[in-house]
Each structure stands twice: as C-alpha cells, then as structure tokens.
C-alpha cells in the first residue's frame, strides 16, 4: 500500500489590508506598516471640536509645515507598540542593573560632600525638565497629523516620564531613599537663578500653538543642548577625581537620546526636504529656539563649571547641534550667544 502525502496550499486572497496594499503593493506587510499607515481618520469626523471651531479634530492646518503626505514622516526605528515596549523593557533591565550596582556599593554617598551637592544641583532638576518634555510631546501627539508622527510622539512622552524616574532614582540614591533631595530639587527648579532660564524657556514652549514648532523646539533643539551640556559636559566634574561611578548612571539617558535622535532627525530632514517653504519655517524655528535655549543655559553652565569652562562647554554643545543641523538640510549658523561669546 502506498500512502501519498500531498500538500494542500491555500493561497490567501489578499496579503494585507487594502489601505496598506494601495501604498506598498499586495505583499506581506510588516507590523510597523500595518500599525502605522493611514490609521488616523481623515474624513467624516463626526464632531467638530467645540473648543477649537476653526479646525477639525485632526487638522493639517494646525501647523505651518505643509506635507503632501504626512506618512512620509516614518520612524526609522519602526516602533509600534509591541516593538517599542520590548525594546524599552530590555533597556530598563540594563538600567536597573546599573542602579543596583550603584546602590550596593553606595557609590553616590561615598562622593565628597561638595560633589554630592553638585550632582543634586546640576543633574537632579532635570526631572522637572523631563516632565516638561513629556507635556510638550503630548501636545505633538495630540495635535500633530498622521499616525506616523503622533504614535512615535506618544511613545516619546512615556520615554520622558521614564527618564524623569531615572533622574529621580539618582536622587534617591543620594539621599538614602528619604526623598529629601527631590524636595530640595523642586525648590532649585523654582528658585535657583541658574535654572530659571531653562524653566522659562520650557514654559514658553508650553504655550506654543504649532505642534511641529513644539516638536522642533523640544525634541531637536532643547534636548540636544540640555542633554549634551548636563549629561555629557558636566560629567568630568565627578569622573575626573572619583572614577566612573556617576557616569554609569548618566549613560542610560545619553544612549536613549542617541536612539531617539534617529527618529527626530529623520522627521525634521523629511519635512525640510519636502519644500523650500518648510525648510525656511524650520530654520526660523530652530534658529530662534537655539538662541533662546543657549542663552537660558548659560547661567547654569557657569554655575556648575565656572564662567570660562561653562561658556566653553555650552559652545561645544551648541557646535554639536550645529553640525547635526547641516545633516538635516538646515543651516548651522552659530547662534547669537556664540557670536556674543566670540566677540
């Protein structure tokens, strides 16, 4: 007797959703494509927002940037909810290890008193900066157009809350879990003259009405300058005499930013390449924000590093941002602060 095993193959009628097939052809689509493209409704909005009768609930006219297709602003990391949470949970585990390492060896409380105080004054108020960044990215997520941009912004909001927690945990390592450092840090954020420029600029972004301007000011300009100055250029303060203990705790936010910058850069680059009008609008926003944030950071840099070293560190951070801008199709003209410092 012979047994014949035959393979019955059923060819699927379609490989993916119609709206995905219309963009990419009828072939198996990635989860990022299926979870991103054309998800946001574009017509037949049932209710006009009463709080903004000039606009629809999703409206391209909320920003001065004009895109023929807002889904051109794809995320090079291809994060959809699943891939993003998996990536973040792995990073969280690694960051937890670093925290545990610092806690077991009591790395921060072994620092000399003045270096502990410097860590508290120079780094910990960033938890309030991160909360502000969360609010700003919420605005981008709520009023931006197209799922490609808004879902990535939405994930970025949670990233920022995570980063605020990371900074807070450094505070708890410093004060032995009493929370005293966090109360003090709030006072610094509200009253310390070194931080007031930063707080003022953050609040200025809060009241902006253009989601892309908010995005550029927060995610491109402010983050580039603040992270580079506070996490990278302040670091030698602790590592020069005390080894890499503090650096291990400041490393995670920097690596997160490296990854997130790929998304920010790709979005800005695509918008700038879309049209000359877009490029000029972006250039105007970037130049303005860069000058304001550089000026706002100057007192902080001077308070932490001293006048000369602070100005030099800030100039380096600003130059790094300038170099990045040229890669995005924008001009890297030095901000007003630098011209002032050079003169």
């Amino acid at each position: 007797m012979t047994v014949e095993i035959r393979v019955q193959s059923v060819k699927p009628l379609r490989q993916t959703f119609g709206h995905i097939a219309r963009r990419f052809g009828d072939k198996p689509a990635t989860r990022y494509q299926e979870g991103t493209y054309d998800l946001q409704s574009t017509v037949n909005h049932h209710y006009k927002p009463l709080w903004d009768p000039e606009h629809d609930i999703y409206d391209q006219r909320r920003t001065a940037i004009v895109m023929a297709d807002w889904y051109a602003l794809k995320d090079p990391r291809q994060y959809y909810y699943g891939s993003w949470t998996i990536a973040r949970s792995k990073q969280q585990e690694a960051a937890d290890r670093q925290m545990e390492f610092a806690e077991k060896r009591d790395l921060l409380r072994q620092l000399p008193g003045e270096l502990q105080a410097a860590l508290q004054r120079a780094i910990l108020p960033l938890r309030h900066y991160e909360w502000g960044a969360n609010t700003n990215l919420c605005f981008v997520s709520a009023y931006g157009y197209g799922t490609a941009l808004t879902q990535a912004a939405s994930m970025a909001t949670m990233d920022r809350l995570g980063m605020a927690q990371h900074v807070s945990r450094i505070g708890l390592l410093l004060d032995g879990n009493s929370g005293a450092s966090l109360a003090e840090v709030k006072r610094l954020w509200l009253d310390d003259p070194a931080w007031q420029g930063l707080r003022r600029q953050m609040e200025a972004i809060f009241v902006g009405r253009d989601p892309i301007e908010t995005f550029v000011a927060q995610a491109l300009v402010a983050d580039a300058l603040v992270y580079d100055l506070c996490l990278r250029r302040f670091e030698p303060l602790w590592t020069a005499s005390q080894g890499a203990g503090v650096a291990t705790l400041l490393d995670f936010p920097l690596r997160w930013q490296e990854e997130t910058n790929r998304w920010v850069d790709s979005v800005v680059k695509t918008m700038a390449a879309e049209s000359e009008a877009n490029r000029q609008t972006l250039q105007g926003w970037v130049d303005g924000a860069r000058a304001r944030w550089s000026a706002a950071l100057a007192p902080l840099a001077a308070a932490v590093l001293g006048d000369a070293a602070g100005a030099a560190a800030l100039a380096e951070a600003d130059a790094a941002l300038g170099a990045r801008l040229t890669k995005l199709g924008l001009k890297a003209s030095a901000s007003n602060l630098n011209q002032g410092a050079a003169a």
Binding site: V7, S9, V10, P28, A29, T30, R31, D75, P76, R77, Q78, A87
Partner: protein, 105 residues
C-alpha cells in the same frame, strides 16, 4: 564509492550547483528576505505556506548592513537562526555576512 564519485563529477560539471536557505514566513523574516533579494539578484524566492525558500545558483550572501537598513535597528545575524528552517551549501559566517556557497565544487 561509485556513487560518491558520481556526485563529485556532477558537482564539477555544474560549478554553480544551487544553494538554498529556507526561512519561516513571518514578520521577522520579511526584512531578511527583502535584503537577500536586493543583494542577490540571481536568487529565486519561492513562497510556500508558512515558509519562504530562496534558491540561488552557487552563491548566496546575506548582509547584516542590508538587513539593518530595513529593520531600523542593530541586527545580529544569529537572530536569523530563530526563523531558519533549513539550508544547503557550505556556510561561511562572519559578523557582517552569512555566505552559502559550494566551495569544493
């Protein structure tokens, strides 16, 4: 003995004996298959239920850089093993390339 000889002769007569790699058809392998297609224009992609088999005459190269370009993150070529069903050819594996080839042919 004679059978082995015959195989050897056959192989020398056809220096481009086909190599193949078979991968599960799922979300993880879409970018890998796209990368293989881009890097190996001579490769033939056959779709089966749940499996994609790629035949290539003599040589098939899978490049890490091409896959990374498509997945948008760092990629370790060993991740491919999770979805690998079968392959034929002598394997040369480095961090950057995964090469299938009949070298002795």
């Amino acid at each position: 003995m004679s059978a082995a000889d015959a195989t050897a002769t056959q192989a020398t007569q056809a220096p481009r004996a086909p190599v193949f790699i078979a991968l599960q058809a799922n979300n993880d392998t879409i970018p890998i298959i796209e990368a293989i297609q881009a890097d190996n224009p001579a490769a033939e992609v056959l779709e089966f239920p749940g499996m994609v088999k790629i035949n290539a005459p003599g040589l098939l190269v899978i490049r890490r850089a091409s896959i990374e370009e498509r997945v948008g993150r760092d990629f370790d070529l060993r991740e491919m093993q999770l979805n690998l069903i079968s392959l034929a050819g002598e394997l040369d594996e480095t961090e950057d390339e995964f090469t299938l080839e009949w070298k002795s042919a």
